[in-house]
């Protein structure tokens, strides 16, 4: 048993993957906690898909994929915020239009590449075992930027999330905070892309935080539960995928989903044991 845990640590790629998974899990849990309370799960999915053309363009131009993904994701996130605010469209309509448009642009650019490239599929489904040292450094730098920003503005973001009208009337720059938060979501997605891929990023953001929301009744505990699950699941998932020789990104997400379902069942059991629904409204 101990050997099964220690043996993979002899491989540099596995250690790097563990480090990346821990960083990604931490950042996703923190940003995701605000995201679930703001009802932005669908937006997270949209922003991750919209990073795709940036990734392909960076590949075509032989630039670093982080830059391409960040430009495309942050740009789309701000555009969604702007269209929803300015146009007389519902937010989910703006999201649907821009998200599909950007993903289509990614596939279009991808189809221009003459030879079939395995790398790019890695961005769709994740390739955490392929993370290099430079990737890890870039990832850590972006993670520090996101965490420092949230650390600085945690209470303003919380107030603007809970009661945007009251916060705006009291003088907080709520719309600037909204845009800033969209940019933070986009950066978090860029950080997570290589680990779990465009398609599954939303689970890293939403599932640990959603589990925290199920189990905690204060925001601090919600974040704590989300971090515990967000950091723990990728570590467990990596080992499972190593032992089973299965896709790592998918395994990580499956672990998180199982934890969520377990929490849901446990909470349902508690509730029926108490004889009625808890005070949720």
């Amino acid at each position: 048993m101990i050997d099964a845990i220690v043996a993979p640590l002899a491989f540099g790629f596995f250690v790097r993957a563990l480090a990346a998974a821990t960083i990604v899990g931490l950042v996703c849990a923190v940003v995701g906690s605000y995201m679930v309370l703001r009802g932005l799960a669908f937006l997270g999915d949209a922003i991750s898909h919209s990073a795709f053309p940036g990734v392909v363009a960076a590949y075509l131009l032989k630039g670093p994929f982080y830059i391409g993904a960040a430009i495309a994701a942050v740009g789309t996130a701000l555009a969604i915020g702007w269209v929803a605010r300015r146009g007389n469209l519902r937010g989910d309509t703006a999201i649907g239009v821009l998200f599909a448009g950007m993903f289509a642009l990614g596939i279009f650019l991808f189809s221009l590449i003459p030879n079939y490239v395995g790398d790019l599929f890695g961005f769709l489904f994740g390739q955490i075992l392929g993370i290099g040292t430079n990737d890890l450094i870039a990832l850590a730098v972006l993670a520090v930027i996101v965490l420092a920003t949230v650390g600085l503005l945690w209470k303003e973001l919380l107030y603007a999330t809970f009661d945007p009208l009251g916060a705006a009337a009291a003088g907080l720059p709520v719309s600037r905070l909204d845009y800033l938060f969209l940019a933070l979501i986009a950066l978090t997605i860029v950080i997570s892309l290589q680990a779990v891929g465009i398609i599954l990023v939303v689970a890293m953001l939403v599932t640990p935080a959603a589990t925290g929301q199920l189990l905690a009744r204060s925001f601090g505990r919600l974040v704590a539960v989300a971090i515990a699950i967000g950091v723990g699941s990728p570590i467990i998932g990596l080992y499972l995928s190593y032992w089973a020789n299965a896709a790592s990104g998918a395994t990580i997400v499956l672990v998180e989903t199982a934890v969520f379902l377990g929490a849901l069942a446990w909470k349902g059991g508690m509730r029926s044991a108490r004889g009625g629904p808890g005070p949720s409204h």
């Binding site: 600085l152 209470k155 809970f162 009208l165 009251g166 003088g171 009744r217």
Partner: protein, 290 residues
């Protein structure tokens, strides 16, 4: 619950007081998109007023209070709040949204909500300290919610929920309270308790402005009233609510006069699905009890 509904501290009706002005609107028109909601509003609210904005649903009550709170920009005209354009004096203002717009499942306690009142003055670089904790404890004490400080807001009664938000405003140490439907959806004894708190704030020289579609509550608990229906229909002491002309002007076709009783028929009302009859004006006793 006692049946003592007429509180000894119920305020006397009073005309618009003279003296310093907390809120001034000149020639203000406003709306949403291309839809005009309020036209040509001229209004002065004196410092220390305890004022109810009444009128039919869709008449512009919430629009008016949002304009004062700086949450909505007017199309034309000028607004002055505590001596400056709205927004400039935001830290001296507290806005309490309608209870039904609040996510009560949000994972915050009563203490957390009251502490939010301190956030704007702290700014991003400072964390809440001893002075903030003391201010929050004092605010919770004042609204009688210290014992529930750690309770998640969804587990509170309707009256307690509103007290938690009042504590936030008190902790922020503001001069102007703007409340959207503060006494809607709570029973009459709870209304009495909440309004006693607001009356005390007004007595201390702070200005209280609240919307209400409950005319009984407006006449019983406030000192001044402003009628709103696409514009200002009346402004003055609560005795205006006994004036059939004022009611007819404000409610138009939604008002039914039965002898000396006016009955407001508000078909656009969103709380009360089972009947169109909103509240009985001049109806003594338990017209508001649900």
């Amino acid at each position: 619950m006692t049946a003592e509904w007429v509180h000894p501290a119920a305020p006397e009706p009073a005309p618009m007081p003279e003296g310093p002005v907390a809120v001034r609107l000149r020639d203000v028109s406003a709306g949403y998109g291309t839809q005009l909601a309020l036209r040509d509003v001229d209004l002065e609210i004196a410092t220390g007023s305890l004022l109810a904005i009444f009128g039919p649903n869709g008449g512009g009550k919430t629009t008016l209070i949002k304009l004062i709170a700086g949450l909505l920009k007017p199309w034309s005209g000028t607004i002055e709040v505590l001596g400056a354009p709205p927004g400039r004096t935001a830290r001296r203002i507290a806005y309490v949204p309608q209870a039904e717009l609040v996510d009560w499942s949000f994972p915050v306690s009563v203490w957390n909500v009251a502490m939010m009142g301190r956030y704007p003055m702290l700014g991003p670089f400072r964390q809440p300290g001893k002075a903030d904790r003391e201010a929050v404890a004092a605010a919770l004490e004042r609204v009688g919610m210290l014992a529930q400080a750690k309770t998640q807001i969804g587990a509170l009664s309707g009256g307690q929920r509103r007290r938690a938000f009042l504590a936030r405003a008190i902790a922020a140490n503001v001069e102007l309270y703007l409340l959207d439907e503060p006494v809607t959806g709570v029973d009459v004894p709870t209304q009495e308790d909440l309004m006693e708190l607001l009356t005390r704030e007004s007595d201390a020289g702070r200005t209280v402005v609240a919307t209400t579609h409950d005319l009984a509550a407006a006449s019983r608990h406030f000192r001044q009233v402003v009628g709103v229906n696409r514009g200002i229909t009346a402004a003055g002491g609560t005795e205006l609510l006994a004036d059939p002309d004022v009611l007819a002007r404000t409610y138009g076709g939604h008002l039914l006069m039965l002898g000396d009783r006016g009955m407001v028929l508000d078909d656009a009302h969103h709380h009360d699905a089972e009947s169109g009859v909103e509240r009985h004006f001049h109806d003594p006793g338990d017209g508001g009890k649900r």
